[in-house]
């Protein structure tokens, strides 16, 4: 065998091994990511149960639970970001992603309801709550912009509660929420303190839809 042929065969072997290693590493990382998604799923299940329990406890002592009920919102944002990334990597039709989105949406609805109930029961002013409905089916050109603008508002005004829902998700509770809030399939859609609105043009226009003073940054009194 000539030197060229021998070296070419060795080089081919190295290339195949290297490519195989790359494929293995990618699969390994994806498996680890899926495992983390499972952990998120478990966490979501526990959080849903926890909220259910809180919901029941409220009937006895509604105002004692205010502090604990508000801690979930930052976790929700983090889970939402992870889910969105997983969806972009694994595809929006991935079974695990869909199951997690169902759980996530349930948790959001639960949190939304308990926050409203706490405010009513305790006679306090409820936080500004935004229900945001989007679609990943390619039929919502402004959804990415609307989502980013809401992230900005949520990060800038910590009192603001944003709940995001995939309008096309096949989940009974979500369909009921859509029916109750009377949100039409014109996306992006927002329900700000119970009042629906549609479309996204700019951050300024979106801010105008919030109640007066709702987006003021509050400084605690010393």
């Amino acid at each position: 065998m000539s030197l060229t042929a021998r070296n070419a065969l060795i080089a081919l072997g190295i290339t195949i091994v290297l490519t195989g290693t790359v494929v293995y590493t990618i699969n390994y990382l994806n498996r680890a990511r899926v495992a983390e998604l499972s952990a998120i799923g478990d966490k979501l299940s526990i959080d849903i149960l926890s909220l259910d329990t809180q919901f029941s406890l409220l009937t006895a002592a509604p105002c004692d639970s205010i502090a604990s009920s508000t801690t979930l919102i930052s976790e929700l944002a983090d889970m939402g970001t992870r889910l969105a990334y997983a969806e972009s990597q694994l595809g929006s039709d991935n079974a695990q992603v869909l199951r997690l989105k169902d759980q996530y949406s349930l948790l959001e609805i639960r949190d939304y309801l308990i926050t409203k109930q706490l405010a009513t029961a305790c006679g306090t002013k409820p936080p500004v709550m935004v229900l945001y409905f989007y679609s990943n089916a390619g039929d919502c050109a402004d959804c990415d912009r609307a989502g980013y603008a809401l992230s900005y508002l949520r990060d800038t005004y910590p009192k603001l509660r944003v709940y995001s829902f995939d309008y096309n998700l096949d989940l009974g509770a979500l369909k009921t929420l859509i029916a109750v809030t009377k949100v039409k399939n014109t996306l992006p859609a927002f329900v700000i303190n119970g009042k629906p609105s549609y479309g996204f043009t700019s951050l300024t226009d979106l801010e105008k839809q919030f109640p007066k003073g709702a987006l003021a940054t509050t400084t605690p009194k010393l």
């Binding site: 070296n7 490519t19 994806n30 983090d78 980013y148 900005y152």
Partner: protein, 412 residues
Amino acid sequence: MSPEMFAYPFLFIAIFVESFILVTILSKPARDARARGPATVLPTVAIIVPCWNEMTTLAATCESLLALDYPKEKLEIILVDDGSTDATPTIMQSFAQHPQVRVILKENGGKHTALNAGIASTEAELIGCLDADSFVEPDALREIVTCFIDEQVAATTAAMSVHRPKNMLQHMQNAEYTFGISLRHSFSSVNGIYVTPGPFSFYRRSVVNELGGFRYGHQTEDMEMALRIQQAGHKIDNAPRARVYTKTPETLFKLIKQRTRWTSGFLRNIFGEYRGLIGSQRHGALGMLVLPSAVLSIGSSILLFSLVLFKLTRHASAAINIRAGIPLSYAMTPHGSFDWFYFPTSAYLFLGAATLLASFTLIAIGKRISRTPGNLTFGIASYALLYAFIAPIWLISATSDVVRGKRRGWRY
């Protein structure tokens, strides 16, 4: 199908070629070449310096040639002025009194005619060329001459580096030239060299006579001569420790112009008179591997560059679009946590990184085997940052020139 799928075969081939280069450098013929001692029998040598308006660098080039460690009676330096319009002839005359130096003045006819005028004026056994913007180490000629002990060797190339790189672009070229040292050293072991560059390449006189001197070669007379030598069945060797330093373009415009000329010259030669070499089993590694991969690398670089540009543009456009109207203080700040969960797992990215890593390895090997002094860290960083984005520009420009039949001037 994702556009990335088109990139995978090319990335696979790129890794294969780089692996081949590495394996060949480690194989016995290359090891033997590196272990060669100095030649004991020293043939007569003539070094031709073709000049056209080289007044700024010519004197330093001549000084470096006169400092070569070689018996004076066996070395002649032929300065050929190819119709310069600046002070080049005057500088030449200042060296004319030196017994080793001869000056030839002629009308402008192109570099190949200057080289042929020099060849016609000497009877030396070995003919060397040195561009008038290049400078040699004192021991470089002895390293070169050693290669000609093998009677089958018709030509030998040196180890080129950039002379005193100043800006980032020149540091990038320095890393690229050092990569070239590994490349030539590896390919010489399987007789796969297809260009004998202007800076310090040498030819056996008898072979030059047999082949009939230099030709225009689509402005790449060094490549045309190397391809003609290969076509005739001769061997081209490499002296990895024969160090030569050359001036390189300092601006992007000049670099693209120079490389467009080189690449279009390659394409015109290889798809013209020498197309028979591609895929030729008789020419071994050159025909079956080196030339096909060189042609393929042009196409794949253009494709990968277009792909990256497309993706970058799409991402940038989407990022700008969703941030429109959001305060810059928020839009320009990264959000989210640095978590492995978000680590991108794309085969495209991993294979690209492997290709780049192999390139760095070959640059480091090139520096080591040539014993080139200096630090290449900045050069490697510049290469990593710039090369993949700049090289496709001249590849596209050259391919476009060849397709449209456009010819450009010589000077960069």
